[in-house]
Symmetry: C2
Subunit: 263 residues, 2 copies
């Protein structure tokens, strides 16, 4: 058996998220079926984390084992020929036997894209959240900076009963039911095209955490919440203290990091 690592991009618009579900089109399900067609083995690929329905990926990572020996370039090409064009394998390599896309991950980067105002291009619309609010970006940048560091993010997590099972990149040294995560970088950028983009890099993210962070920072940007409210929201450890969940279509999983280059 060889352990494989693949990096892939997908347009989340057409999928019911990453995780395989009976009768629904999912990225994991499409990958498993493609492996079956190409290799004749159909292991369930393990992703670095689940992405929800409608969330996109620029650099999701998955791992799986195959008995068949197949050159990496051939596997990559064959998978791309049989997969729908909404999923593209960007890289494929044989990994260390202990590599696991979720358990081995040490950091992830997400991006959330906002279009301000009217007249959003139909070709951009599936990949961006349109906001009509007047947003003061300086206030949002301050709130973004306030989440950098180690915090309990319970206020920003989906109020699911199964919190632990829906969170991703949980460092194995830590209680999986904890909502404590470390954010390494968190900022808003404004490209010349007028979009407003939130980029966040951390050691793990709870279910809906990025979308709830963005929803909360929009409330801060439009003046509904005070400029300095993020620390209090974190301290409240209550979903009710934070802002709404913004739509999935603006969210991109950009990249997943692992401790060793040869992983």
């Amino acid at each position: 058996m060889q352990n494989w690592k693949i990096t892939l991009s997908y347009d989340g618009t057409l999928f019911h998220g990453w995780q395989v579900q009976p009768g629904l089109r999912t990225v994991q399900g499409e990958l498993q079926a493609a492996l079956g067609r190409v290799v004749g083995e159909a292991p369930l690929p393990q992703g670095s984390g689940r992405t929800d329905a409608g969330v996109h990926a620029l650099g999701q990572v998955a791992s799986f084992s195959l008995a068949a020996a197949i050159p990496a370039a051939n596997l990559l090409r064959a998978l791309n020929r049989t997969l729908p064009s909404s999923i593209r394998i960007l890289a494929a390599s044989v990994a260390d036997p202990v590599f696991h896309a979720r358990h081995s991950a040490v950091a992830k980067t997400y991006e959330y894209r906002i279009f301000r105002g009217e007249g959003c291009s139909p070709f951009l619309a599936p990949y961006i959240h349109v906001s009509d609010w007047h947003l003061e970006v300086a206030r949002m940048r301050r709130a973004a900076a306030d989440v950098v560091g180690e915090h309990d993010f319970l206020s920003l997590a989906a109020s699911d009963p199964d919190l632990a099972s829906r969170s991703d990149v949980i460092p194995s040294s830590r209680d999986s039911s904890s909502a404590i995560r470390t954010i390494y970088a968190s900022d808003w950028v404004e490209p010349a095209d007028g979009r407003l983009i939130y980029r966040v890099r951390g050691n793990g993210f709870l279910h809906h955490m990025v979308r709830n962070l963005v929803g909360t920072m929009i409330e801060i940007g439009r003046g509904q919440f005070a400029e300095d409210s993020m620390p209090r929201i974190l301290q409240a450890k209550s979903r009710a203290a934070a802002g709404p969940t913004v739509p999935a279509r603006g969210l991109f999983l950009c990249s997943v990091e692992y401790p060793q280059a040869d992983y």
Copy 2:
């Protein structure tokens, strides 16, 4: 009654083309329904021409009459608020009473986008045709230049029985069953991102004409047809002489021109 001119963009992926059809989602049908919701009148907007299922528009033009007097900015904003995000109105204005989006048109520009090779981004895939062939662009540029001028394009038209009714921008001075059209500009461009783009501007286009032109030039570019074969293909006046029809997803209606600015 006021006569209106609107310019609109749409992602053709989700529509069964421009023309209203019972039980199917079409751009014309969505527009008519949106007018009904906004103005309480639901005229059938007349497009500059039909676009087929899957064909996109950056600057389609349509005209219709309304009894209600409504400021142009309000109509534009209200339509965009009620239309699906896959259709955006870019401009709306009251036009001369004789203006008609199809009959008044004097030129149209189309673009056909090709991605060469493997690894096309999932976010680009719905809007581009992926070609695995090695294409010699110099041969394709020569063929593109060969169609400039007035020609009978019967070889490049869909072999529909209802050719006349499926062609667009037919100058009123000309027999509508004629396949003679004038091409003002026709060339391939290669942006730095590696795409290959065909741009063509003419006084009118037969059904499938741009997609058949591109399919024929791909045959020329990959060496299946001789470099100088375009004149002979035109002279044959037979669909069988030309190349295949390339997929709709790569085709964009870019703009429609009218003789007077105040139209």
